[in-house]
Symmetry: C2
Subunit: 692 residues, 2 copies
Amino acid sequence: MWLNYQTVDDSERLQEYRAMLSDIYLAGGSETIDAAKAELNDGLGQLLGETPNLLNSIPEAGVVAGTIQNSDWLRNLDLDLSRLGPEGYLIRKIDTDGRSKIIIAANQDIGVLYGVFGLLRHVQTHQTLDDISIERSPKVEYRMVNHWDNLDRLVERGYAGLSLWEWGTLPEYKHPRYTDYARFNASIGINASVINNVNADPEILTDQFLEKVSVLADVFRPYGIQLFLSINFQSPQRIGGLDTSDPLNPDVNEWWAEKADEIYELIPDFGGFLVKADSEGQPGPFAYNRTHAEGANMLAKALEPHGGMVVWRAFVYDPAQSDRFREAYDEFVPLDGQFMDNVILQVKNGPIDFQPREPFSPLFGAMEETNTMIELQVTQEYFGFSQHLAYMGTLFTEALQADTYAKGEGSTVAKVVDGSLFDYEHTGMAAVINPGTDENWTGHPFVQSSWYAFGRLAWDHTLSAEQIADEWLRMTFTNNIDFVDPVKEIMMESREAGVNYRMPLGLTHLYDQGHHYGPAPWTADLPRPDWTAVYYHKADDNGIGFDRTVTGSNAIEQYHEPVAERFGDLNSVSDDYLLWFHHVGWDHEMNSGRTLWEELVHKYYKGVEQVRGMQQQWESIKGLIDSERYEHVKALLDIQERDAVRWRDSCVLYFQSFSGKPIPDQYEKPEHDLDHYIELEKTKYVPDPWYN
Amino acid sequence: MWLNYQTVDDSERLQEYRAMLSDIYLAGGSETIDAAKAELNDGLGQLLGETPNLLNSIPEAGVVAGTIQNSDWLRNLDLDLSRLGPEGYLIRKIDTDGRSKIIIAANQDIGVLYGVFGLLRHVQTHQTLDDISIERSPKVEYRMVNHWDNLDRLVERGYAGLSLWEWGTLPEYKHPRYTDYARFNASIGINASVINNVNADPEILTDQFLEKVSVLADVFRPYGIQLFLSINFQSPQRIGGLDTSDPLNPDVNEWWAEKADEIYELIPDFGGFLVKADSEGQPGPFAYNRTHAEGANMLAKALEPHGGMVVWRAFVYDPAQSDRFREAYDEFVPLDGQFMDNVILQVKNGPIDFQPREPFSPLFGAMEETNTMIELQVTQEYFGFSQHLAYMGTLFTEALQADTYAKGEGSTVAKVVDGSLFDYEHTGMAAVINPGTDENWTGHPFVQSSWYAFGRLAWDHTLSAEQIADEWLRMTFTNNIDFVDPVKEIMMESREAGVNYRMPLGLTHLYDQGHHYGPAPWTADLPRPDWTAVYYHKADDNGIGFDRTVTGSNAIEQYHEPVAERFGDLNSVSDDYLLWFHHVGWDHEMNSGRTLWEELVHKYYKGVEQVRGMQQQWESIKGLIDSERYEHVKALLDIQERDAVRWRDSCVLYFQSFSGKPIPDQYEKPEHDLDHYIELEKTKYVPDPWYN
């Protein structure tokens, strides 16, 4: 992972660091300060190649860290920490008594810990301490990771081993990985963890499990991480012995209030509940003719006395509707203003479901009176699982920087989410992460980079994907520029490559139902049309794409102007979203001068070429890192190339069956016919439990 | 694991080793010799704290290793290696030209590798090289580990994470753990691995999987490990497109012959098939009115041209029968002599199913004309999964040393199995092991010791369980006698403790159906009576135990005399097997002078006391090993104590409902009533996928 404290191999820097960082004083005595001490001791010990001295008094030259409450010396510096808030920190080089010190100052101990991680990152990336002067504070309140871990330890869409939470040995055994997990998260500013799947097992709220859960909360607490639980809306019936879960029933309300009391007895800083309700078979308030707001508010009332939050997912779609795109907006916008203050709506970045590329969800900018956070996906459900390299930093920044125009130009999704646009009571960003028992935590070693990027962006959405990739590579592998530069290029290109070989030009969801690995654009005839692929691409002899303009589902009306107009006009919509919004003829002339058919073929072939380029670049760095990680990524890129070809050939041959047009001569021909690929998808044994 | 090459901390020994082992010459150039070189280089490098010199010529003083075919120098020593066989080795200190050398000599390269591991073990356990003179060769031909790994990577009865075999990235990626796995096995002489579950998925024989499997075989080959596959008897129908799997049908025969050809094309040294047929729902020859022999011989014929083996399991039991104990014997003894030479019957150590204690299976000693191997269980299906400490070395030696009297006194199970009693064509020992993706491979760190013990005993069944425990502790943890002695005591007592708190005095199978973790002696009313607990203990107001004498099922008739007589006589049967063979009155006077009821209570309480003693002994070694493993085992012993109390109280209270007698005053009273424990077992969420 990125807390890979390798001894600094730049001798000048090493000398500088040793001079400034060998003597350390940390003020205060909380568990959080103890964690900061341990991290500095281990981290600097390895980075500097010698254990630092943890002093009980202010060093002449060295590090002084703490809150101004806990350190007279820091308080006497008269620093202005008002801008930092409760979690921010300041790192500054100051000169006193003719000697230089590095100070880390904060308003609360957790800020000190974040500052320690900030300093360590600075050293890990070999930056100078000369004139260091940093002030950092998070832009959103809840920086949250969501686990889709089932209680049987299988992880839905996980692809990295079993769940981290070893229920069988809890509460007795605190696996060391729980602490490492907390360290990784705290190091990037994550302060909230929902430890179980949104498709929630009601058992999580039984005495037996809460006792185990409370041990995890104890481990997370020093690292500033609040523990949340996903709950099942029918818990009062399933484990409580009631005969209803109606949110307006007094017994149900009392049951939840008592359950909240019980939880807070065990976990005084419990974060709250995450709820997936009336979505994909999960129970919710609709069974009692109640609204999402009534359902969420019932839980919010139970948690409110304790300061807990309800995070309510907006991922809903009704099979009866004609366009899945429209549904979350149509269900939630009428409820704007009806949710209690301690409810946050959690909205996926796009209107469908974490696809390789989606336009931003029109709910961003539409919920002026309802706290709204974004939900992103680190785990590669739609990006080749743990087999493909696909850095999500570029996707995340694309989503955050999209302009909703809700209050005119510059009303970006980021400004919705950080609360500055609508002055939300509570703010947050969430991502579905996938760590499991795999030795590298995430399956593909580069999935780590997306987890890292999410944390960094949740703290500060103004960072660039490239800057984050640079940091992560240096911290995780090496500062050697001959490695960092080409591999950063791989990362920056990887998501676009994945779009190109899977579903370019605004195509989406060309998967089979169930697992989402291989290509299956031919998928039809499923119990729900919105689980098929043909529902999304609508290819026919005339053309391809989903008409969401006024002549179609008119989903574009959900956007503010001029976004709606731009998406709705065949001439102004960007190629990236063309087939999201328009059914376009095969001969339509594109900006490139090619026809749509030619452009589609071009993109599919380009995707494969990009992967081959990634392979070459990776092979160019052989010898610059350990052979174990080198060989692992190399083998995975071989798999990715094989799969990219399969995606390309499957899709091109399938769409050719509609367009009736040839694959231009300059392209290598598919090795097999369409039937071969259809059969391959059908018979291909999917060899991991989570693949289905 | 036990290949934990810690630098020798005994300075005298270190000096001795450095003097003798720093210069090394290995003759030959095979992959196996390369593996031996790598192991010596890494192993001695760590043990001696300095990398040895791998020379291209005979050193003046140092190690010379190789076959006499590959080394003129070794051949000129005129060693007599005839007793060693193809896999044996000799390690000897010799003086030539006034200088001492350590030689490792063998007839084949694999013997050299085994010798290298023998030397490393010698050094790991800090034994002197003075006058070293060792000759070792294995007592059985197939030293086999069985994996119950499903292709979806869940491991039946595994409890140590997901399957080692990462099908999703094969054949492209050779995970480094595959090589480590081969090293661990080779280091203890294991030479055969059945990589998939006996409840076999037919997909394993598809092209797609065979290509992946062949990569594993390539990794195993240098380490002398033959790869076997478990097969589904209905494969010709399930993946072959035939409409029958009748073993006498020519198309079926041809299908298997072609499949064998295809496999050997990919894996020239493929070992063969393991088959679970007509057992617990698995298909077999009975569907076509054919016998086990006809089923096995069909496969044997397909494999014979390639030198492959069929391992046919004798674990069969028909719910219609009155005593499960009798069934394997009754089914197989009439077939003795009908199996082809390349078939081995695989028989579990006891007549039921890997219970905490069983008498030996009467099939040992009854199959004079049929190759018969023993099947043992390392994974703790019935011993508390990965939560309890239960060293199986004592169980294995008890099973192997049992005397069948098949050819008079001294006809031990070991002598049946090593072929010396009946002059078998092929011999073997197998164990079901559980390694998975857990960082320590086996879940509970001490499950490793049973894997180790199995390998050592398969090589040489005359070793003692205590000697093996001693070796394993030194290699895995430390040679510090203050650690080794008390922890060896823990290990030696652990299995008996597990018998006592679960099912003493010959009780057996007091589990619920499905998972086999907690106590459920009250289990009745299941689809099959032989899946209930009451079937086995038969407790009533008069007494307890299964009458297998002539007044009962007369299963004792399956034993040779005087075994049958000894088990059948209430006065001569040992307490350990009392309730296996007799229904005994609650007031029956035991050898101890206590009544049966008092003795039963005594044993249950003793089991808990033994676990508490294990806890104390473990706490006494704090600080002598790393805190991570110390804390892990400590927490697991806490869980074991909790569970042992639960077993004790559940069973004592339940049996008390029949005996109507009090728990004697000197014992602590159960904390809850029987209903509590019944409810606990019912509602206890079993929190890992493999628990069910």
